[in-house]
Subunit: 315 residues, 2 copies
């Protein structure tokens, strides 16, 4: 398939980089100011070199990406909340032009789910968003395959930054501020880590999951959210004395979304360590399915995008 | 889709039982001697009642199932080795009639993989076999979605009977024969548990995985297999002193298949307990994906069959 990729950050660049390996062609790659476009397939390596070298990625306007003969619009611009713009409009244009849209961007799916589904229903194109939840872990495709109606709850650890911080606090007996600084040095936490540590990132992913289970009805405002910034090191020591530790757990059912720190058994399935994520899918007929893996990262998230591309029907 | 189900054991009955929930119709259900057939959909509850009550499941010949207007043949007869008959011929007939075939039966996929693929290539129908590996755990669909070429190895615990026995031996300090008898009483081990405890069942599943990774080339004869029957209780005590336990682990790569008891960290991901299974998929771009869940059981395996049905293309 021919891919038009909007967003040349970590994820967009990785999708461009790996597309050929999965048999697809990149006809456009755009950041917020420029785009490189070639109907016969762009020279991905040169484009990535320019971007990393801080040169303009191309000589075209990002708008021109929509004029190419792309099959799939890959939306990998930074996630925005509330009106989820400009991502929502990008996806709308693609679907109204009867093209497919594959999102790594959480905004449209968390905040304007029903509108998105209506656009998809009226389009010859489809919308998929595996990459918006759980990085490389196949969460949404698993739910889709076992039929959302048979899923009763989805629970898990869905933010690697928060999990890394809690893992280190427990392992070293250090306090939150100290470990956050360490995480930022390592590139595991961003300069502004707010959404990762206050639970918003997890909440967005769970809102998406609740929307899938209930076929819409939820936005970020519906989530009860508590983060990890106020956890003292002593809380983890106390937990350890009882054979437990603390993890930032999110849970989504058809009734709602809750995110917050929870005590979990130290050696149980929910005590994944470091930046790893885990998702538990509770089903009516097949018990509990657990999937763990890398929840974030360029190549990891790109594999989820390309997995979605592979599951698109012919238009 | 209209399903013709061959095999009315635990799996066949569960597929018939759950088909309606997934929006499908059962037009034929056959055991080795009889069949119940109705082009408008059989009365599943009555058929299951007759089977469980030891009455003939229907008044038709199993052969007649092939004469119905089915879309998907579900092959759920007991797994046989070597020529994998009669399952192979069943699947051949379906594909040659341009129908789909979904297998819970491991035989054709482990022992005659290339012949099966050739039949599928020449057919308007497709062949899928998620239910042959790992019960409810989506192993093959995950590999398919992330692209088999990017998968370097698949490893895991794929037999619940063996895993239950080892879990109990470690937990209670009991010996193998004792725990086997307990497992048989509980219905976790069969009257003839050979394939479960000697590693053959795991080996078959790994042969299937190796065939998927390498696009054919393997049969059961290629697997180096060791079971759990000779493990003394003392071996588990010794392992525990070192913070480890013993699990029956199988591994498949493009180079071959190995099955045998291995020492694993007591609290590591590979130390799943009881009848639970776990699969680790090693990928080139996305690190390691772990999936655990119920590896066997009627409803569990049926969900894998029905997930496959949902992923079939239109003929």
């Amino acid at each position: 398939m021919k891919l038009a990729i909007l967003g040349a950050g970590t994820v967009g660049r990785s999708v461009a980089d790996l597309a050929g390996e999965y048999g697809h062609e990149v006809v456009a790659l755009a950041d917020s100011t420029n785009a490189v476009i070639d109907a016969d397939g762009i020279d991905v390596d040169s484009a990535l070199q320019r971007k990393i070298g801080d040169e303009p990625i191309g000589i075209s306007d990002p708008e021109d990406a929509f004029e190419t003969e792309y099959d799939v619009l890959v939306e990998a611009t930074p996630t925005t909340l509330d009106d989820a713009e400009p991502a929502f409009s990008h996806v709308k244009r693609a679907l109204e032009a009867d093209r497919h849209a594959v999102l790594a961007n959480k905004g449209p799916v968390a905040e304007r789910y029903e509108e998105l589904q209506t656009l998809a229903t009226d389009s010859a194109g489809s919308v998929r968003f595996e990459a918006a939840v759980g990085g490389a872990i196949p969460v949404l495709s698993t739910i889709e395959d076992c039929s959302p109606e048979t899923v009763t709850a989805v629970r898990g650890i869905l933010n690697g930054t928060a999990n890394f911080i809690l893992t280190r606090m427990a392992a070293e007996g250090l306090d939150y501020e100290h470990v956050l600084a360490e995480a930022q040095d390592l590139g595991v936490a961003e300069t502004d880590p707010t959404f990762d540590v206050d639970g918003t990132d997890v909440a967005l992913k769970l809102v998406i999951l609740a929307n899938v289970l209930a076929d819409g009805g939820f936005t970020l405002e519906d989530a009860a959210v508590e983060g990890i910034q106020s956890i003292p090191g002593s809380a983890l020591d106390l937990a350890a004395e009882d054979g437990r530790t603390i993890r930032l757990i999110g849970e989504a059912t058809r009734d709602g979304i809750r995110v917050g720190p929870r005590l979990v058994p130290e050696n149980g399935p929910l005590a994944v360590t470091g930046t790893r994520n885990i998702v538990q899918i509770e089903t009516r007929n097949a018990g509990s399915l657990h999937s763990s893996g890398r929840g974030a990262g360029g190549p990891e998230t790109a594999t989820a995008v390309l997995s979605d591309v592979g599951r698109l029907p012919q238009r």
